[in-house]
């Protein structure tokens, strides 16, 4: 009996060793561990074994069965391992194939730049104030200290709107800058408490229009972002600090800004802010026209007349204001040479942002 058992084990293990696929393995399991396998037969016929031998044979038979089962488990694992290896080695993608095209949405580049500007100024407490695009001469010019026929108007040729009534010196026009919003905002806020109007810290984005022949450099419509800070304790030194902070956030922490005296009717003193060219590091290049500097914005302390027209007493309040062009900023940063790209909305342009 014991010899038979040894043979069962030997045959079983030997045939198992030769098996190379799962089907054969299942077959082997039926043959060698199934109901009518030799080992199971042996268990079934245990009654025929003599009483003396039964104990030893039973133990031995169990050991054989366990050995076969263990070998089966091991074999199965080995076969799976082989199968896995094979499938891993066979299932190879061309990873250089392009991914499936997902249509992606994008914001217009000007919206993107505007949002960056909003974010930087929001961090400094400036909120967005928007006002109308169709304005009167009074709001667009006169209240901002551009009297009729003032020479500074020459730089801001306007589109005028036909009106029913004769309006004299106060025609309706398309705003040439977002500055009329300064007056509207100050009047709105000062009306809340005319004796002690609250401080103002706003930026004024929006579309503006100038009578310009459209070319690579000029558009007849353009966006502008102005800023206005008014309070009892606002200085030119604050203006420099605030705008230099803005320049560093927008153009890089190492960017140097400089302020040049300039003239705008609605600020006094007035300045232009240049930043050191971030493309050439100030060494001189085509974008900065070899000057090393880029003109970024105009600014100044709010003219007393403008404060007064807004309901803020210039003896008690001071303020600063500034204005910049998001298209120009985008053009400088992205080396865009034609301003007409912005409103032409060619997808080949827009899809690059």
């Amino acid at each position: 009996m014991l010899e038979k058992l040894a043979e069962i084990e030997q045959v079983g293990l030997a045939t198992l060793a030769e098996i190379a696929d799962e089907a054969a393995l299942n077959q082997w399991k039926v043959t060698h561990l199934g109901r009518s396998s030799a080992i199971m037969d042996l268990f079934k016929n245990m009654g025929e074994v003599s009483k003396e031998e039964r104990g030893a044979v039973g133990r031995e038979a169990n050991q054989v069965k366990q050995a076969l089962e263990a070998a089966l488990t091991q074999k199965m694992a080995a076969l799976r391992e082989v199968a896995l290896r094979r499938s891993l080695s066979q299932e190879r993608l061309d990873v250089t194939l392009p991914g499936r095209a997902i249509p992606r949405g994008r914001l217009h580049p000007v919206t993107q730049t505007l949002r960056e500007i909003y974010r930087v100024f929001a961090d400094m407490g400036f909120q967005v104030y928007r006002s109308r695009e169709v304005e009167t001469d009074e709001f667009n010019f006169q209240l901002l200290n551009f009297p009729p026929h003032h020479p500074a108007r020459e730089m801001q040729d306007s589109f005028y709107i036909q009106s029913q009534e004769e309006r004299g010196d106060n025609p309706i026009l398309l705003r040439t800058h977002t500055s009329p919003g300064q007056i509207r905002a100050m009047r709105e806020y000062s009306a809340e408490n005319p004796e002690n109007p609250p401080p103002v810290r706003i930026i004024l984005p929006g579309m503006c229009y100038r009578y310009e022949q459209v070319s690579a450099r000029y558009e007849s419509q353009f966006t502008q972002v102005e800023g206005l800070a008014v309070g009892r304790n606002i200085t030119f030194s604050n203006l420099k600090g605030t705008l230099s902070d803005f320049a560093r956030r927008m153009f890089g922490q190492n960017v140097r800004a400089r302020f040049r005296a300039s003239h705008f009717p609605f600020t006094e003193p007035s300045a232009e802010m240049d930043i050191e060219c971030f493309l050439c590091g100030g060494e001189g290049c085509a974008v900065c026209k070899s000057t090393g500097w880029l003109e970024i914005l105009g600014c100044g302390m709010v003219h007393p007349t403008v404060l007064k027209n807004g309901g803020y007493d210039p003896e008690r309040y001071t303020g600063f204001a500034f204005g910049m062009g998001p298209e120009r900023i985008t053009m400088l940063r992205r080396k865009i040479e034609d301003i007409r790209y912005f409103w032409a909305n060619d997808l080949r342009f827009l899809e690059q942002f």
Binding site: I102, Q221, N345
Partner: protein
């Protein structure tokens, strides 16, 4: 405005490089746009201690340098004929070192040909052998090196140069004949070299549009002293008083009028140096009299006008009457022929200088032809005046007549400059044209300007600029600009209204505006004006950068913008590209969104009075029109287009001349659902429901409630494929497939074009501030699919609404997953297959519960819609 370095240096000493000077002026508000070097060496690329800063050049430069060793003053001693050429002469020329024979074809030497040795040698600009000059025969400014060669048998190696050859001007008709005092052998660059600053004059720096003005700025910026021209001039002639009368009819138009007279002048060309200065400053030399008026104007900023005195005397009918100058506004359509020979029809805002017989000149703009000085003039009456800025400006624009005089008068010239200008002009005429100056000036000055006096203190400087300056420092800054400053320490009463921290013990400075500037206001405006002067002379770059310490204003936010931006984010997230289009269009362009023959709504457009082009003559009324044009433009380059824009349209608003600027949202989709790729993307053309999916997702993303879609009607859309979208029963927009006839109006691809047009202000007003989130239900759901056969005409929304109504809270999801039409269910019918989710928030439902509810739902649908459950 162009000013010359050499001219400025007559009035102030400069001890820095030309480029550094330009830098200082630029930072102080006199922006130097270009420096043109005339003969002087151009700087090598080194600036502000930067080593090897090769390309950087803060100011644009141009020009041509004359090598000092090679281009010198020469003296032509004799001019002899060329042995073999009529058009050439030979010059015996002394260059300070030796005598040369120089060949030239200059016509202005021919008159000296064969006259023997000249009594007065002719001083010329002489280029030695090997010198670099400009090639006069090549276009542009090409340098060339003088080489030895034989011309018609005569050896030539050097040259007497024309202005063209030295890069001064395009003049090549003859060589330069220098003034007699030119030192022979001296480098020409030392004698004649110059630099021309082209300065941008802003409206508030009009006072600096002249040599003295720039010199004064330099004096203030560098601490150098300003010298004034000495205007004590000999007046040897008989008194002017009693020989001319001035009558000013409106002092606001003409605050001052001054006359001086010089008699027995001899008109001749001005000295070469004068002519050169005028040329480099952008004016044309004419003769010594006209040049004197222009020179004085460029120097002091006071435009002068010269009359032929004899002409004025001749115009007086009655010899016993004095010539009388009258200044007045023109009558509408009055005529005057100006000295350019053009007869001009005038407006009533134009100011005229007249005499008893009629108009003589457009005041401050241009003289008249008749009284102009000519070659025969011997007595010159010289006018210096002050004119109203606005009237001058309007005249310049109306007559399209920009002149140097008008440039200055339309920016403001202080009346105090009038006599100074006249004296300087007379002085120069006497120097260049001889004659005797009549004693005294005739001066009418009815309206002197205010010349405000302002009081400021260190506290004002602190309040405005954020820097500490002592009264002495303030005075030191302002005095070089000729403000008259006085420090006052006393107990003047404080204004009751003022809360500025001035106490009576603090010293104050009273500052009087100098009589050459009109840009300083009164009171607090004057203070601000002075702050600018202090800041720019002190140096903007020296003012520290600080952060605001003021109170932070109330944080109001901007609700409308926030919603608009959220809307943008939703649409971008759904794969749409944002565009921003032109807001000016034309009615014809907007008509394209309607089928042919459909008239535009009878609402007014806001129309420009001065459009640049008819295509952009009105403010748009339809964002959809802008959108379709954008789609059309891109259809040539892209098959799949998915765009949106959120921006205003301009609609008439009742009771106002101003439009209502109404924000709209437009969407357009066309082309395949997904971009075609190698992996079998779904390239079915997008249809109504692709657009609807985007709109549903967007509105859900904003948490809008009670959204309904109804079959809609709109002329731009296909009548059967158009929906009106309502939120809380307010229509917010329309969407659908473009009407085929509208699509024909554009060049668009074959695929359907889906578009939407929404009123964003309604969306802004309906977006809820808060929205609730339901708990995730614990008990498991039961899912069941049912298919219902209904008539084709029954809207799916009604079926769904009934299911939800009947199911109540227990039916948590109703999803339409299939629509079937076919023989099996009969014509005119459709089968709608829904997947229902039954779920109770608290307890577990049994299959029986679900079946009961399902039966209830089906019964109701049978009863109300004639639906049949499909087996």
């Amino acid at each position: 405005m162009k000013v010359l370095l050499s001219w400025i240096e007559e009035y102030v000493d400069i001890d820095m490089s030309i480029e550094d000077l330009a830098h200082r002026l630029t930072l102080a508000g006199l922006e130097v746009e270009e420096i043109r070097y005339v003969g002087l060496p151009l700087p090598e690329g080194k600036i502000e201690g930067r080593s090897g800063g090769h390309a950087r050049r803060e100011t644009k430069i141009s020009g041509f340098a004359w090598a000092p060793e090679q281009i010198v003053v020469g003296a032509v001693l004799e001019v002899t004929p060329h042995p073999d050429a009529d058009k050439l002469v030979l010059c015996k020329l002394d260059d300070g070192e030796q005598i040369h024979t120089v060949l030239t074809g200059a016509p202005n030497l021919f008159e000296y040909k064969g006259k023997g040795p000249l009594d007065t040698p002719l001083k010329v600009s002489y280029a030695r052998e090997g010198a670099t000059i400009i090639n006069a025969y090549e276009p542009g400014y090409q340098p060339t090196i003088l080489k030895r060669k034989k011309i018609r048998g005569v050896e030539s190696y050097s040259m007497a140069c024309s202005e063209r050859e030295l890069g001064i001007s395009d003049e090549h008709e003859g060589i330069i004949l220098l003034d007699e005092d030119a030192p022979v052998g001296a480098p020409l660059a030392d004698y004649l070299g110059d630099a021309v600053f082209d300065i941008a004059i802003t409206p508030n720096t009009a006072r600096d549009a002249n040599v003295i003005g720039v010199a004064r700025e330099i004096a203030a910026l560098t601490g150098a002293r300003l010298r004034y021209p000495d205007l004590k001039i000999p007046m040897e002639g008989p008194p002017l008083e009693g020989r001319i009368k001035i009558k000013i009819t409106d002092p606001h138009l003409n605050p001052r009028f001054v006359f001086g007279l010089i008699e027995n002048v001899k008109i001749q060309p001005s000295p070469y140096k004068v002519q050169l200065r005028l040329k480099l400053a952008g004016m044309r030399p004419i003769n010594s009299l006209v040049d004197a008026t222009n020179y004085a104007m460029l120097e002091l900023g006071e435009p002068l006008h010269a009359f032929d005195y004899d002409v004025l005397v001749g115009r007086v009918d009655n010899p016993s009457h004095l010539p009388t100058i009258i200044t007045r506004a023109a009558k509408q359509d009055e005529k005057l022929t100006t000295l350019d020979g053009i007869e001009r029809t005038l407006d009533d805002f134009t100011v005229l200088v007249c005499d008893q017989s009629g108009p003589l000149a457009l005041a401050g703009v241009m003289g008249g032809l008749e009284s102009e000085i000519t070659d025969k003039t011997t007595h010159v009456l010289l006018e210096g005046a002050a004119w109203n800025i606005i009237n001058t400006r309007r005249t310049v624009i109306a007559q399209n007549l920009p002149s140097e005089a008008a440039y200055r008068f339309s920016r403001g010239v202080h009346p105090a400059m009038a006599p100074q200008g006249v004296l300087r002009g007379l002085q120069l005429m006497r120097e260049w044209a001889g004659g005797a100056i009549a004693k005294g000036l005739v001066d009418e000055y009815p309206l002197p300007p205010k010349d405000p006096t302002i009081e400021i203190s260190s506290a004002d400087v602190r309040r405005w600029l954020g820097i500490e300056l002592s009264p002495d420092e303030i005075v030191r800054i302002l005095e070089p600009l000729e403000f008259e400053c006085k420090i006052v320490i006393g107990d003047k009463e404080q204004g009751t209204n003022s809360q500025s921290p001035i106490t009576s013990h603090q010293p104050r400075i009273t500052i009087a505006t100098p009589p050459h500037r009109l840009d300083i206001g009164e009171g607090v405006i004057g203070k601000a004006d002075l702050m600018e002067e202090i800041a720019r002379v002190y140096g903007y770059d020296r003012i520290p950068e600080t952060r605001m310490a003021d109170d932070l204003p109330p944080q109001r936010g901007n609700h409308e913008l926030e919603i608009e931006e959220a809307l943008r984010d939703q649409l971008v997230g759904l794969g749409l590209q944002e565009v921003i289009t032109h807001r000016l269009t034309s009615p014809e362009r907007e008509e394209r969104i309607l089928p042919p023959g459909t008239p535009l709504a009878d609402a007014p457009y806001f129309t420009l009075t001065n459009p640049i082009t008819p295509e952009r003559s009105v403010l748009r009324r339809s964002l959809l029109a802008s959108m379709l044009e954008t789609v059309e433009r891109n259809a040539r380059i892209r098959g799949r287009i998915a765009l949106f824009e959120i921006n205003p349209i301009y609609l008439a608003s009742e009771g106002s001349e101003m439009p209502q600027e109404a924000p709209r949202l437009a969407i357009a989709l066309t082309g395949p659902r997904a971009p075609a790729d190698w992996g079998g993307a779904d390239v079915t053309p997008m249809d109504f429901f692709d657009l609807k999916g985007i709109i549903e997702a967007t509105l859900r993303g904003l948490h809008l409630k009670d959204i309904r879609y109804e079959a809609g009607e709109h002329p731009s859309f296909h009548p059967g494929k158009c929906a009106c979208v309502l939120v809380d029963n307010h229509p917010i927009g329309v969407m659908g497939e473009l009407h085929p006839q509208v699509k024909e109006n554009y060049e668009l691809p074959e695929t359907p074009l889906l578009a939407a047009d929404f009123d964003v202000s309604v969306i802004i007003n309906t977006v809820p501030e808060l929205f609730d989130v339901s708990p995730i239900p614990g008990p498991p759901p039961i899912l069941e699919d049912i298919a219902l056969i209904v008539d084709e005409a029954v809207p799916a929304a009604e079926v769904e609404a009934l299911i939800r109504q009947t199911g109540g809270l227990t039916v948590t999801e109703v999803r339409l997953f299939d629509i079937y039409r076919g023989e099996q269910i009969g014509a005119g019918k459709k089968s709608l297959a829904y997947s229902l989710t039954y779920q109770h928030p608290e307890h577990t439902l049994t299959d029986k519960d679900a079946a009961g509810l399902r039966d209830k739902i089906v019964k109701r649908l049978e009863r109300e819609l004639g639906a049949q459950l499909r087996g």
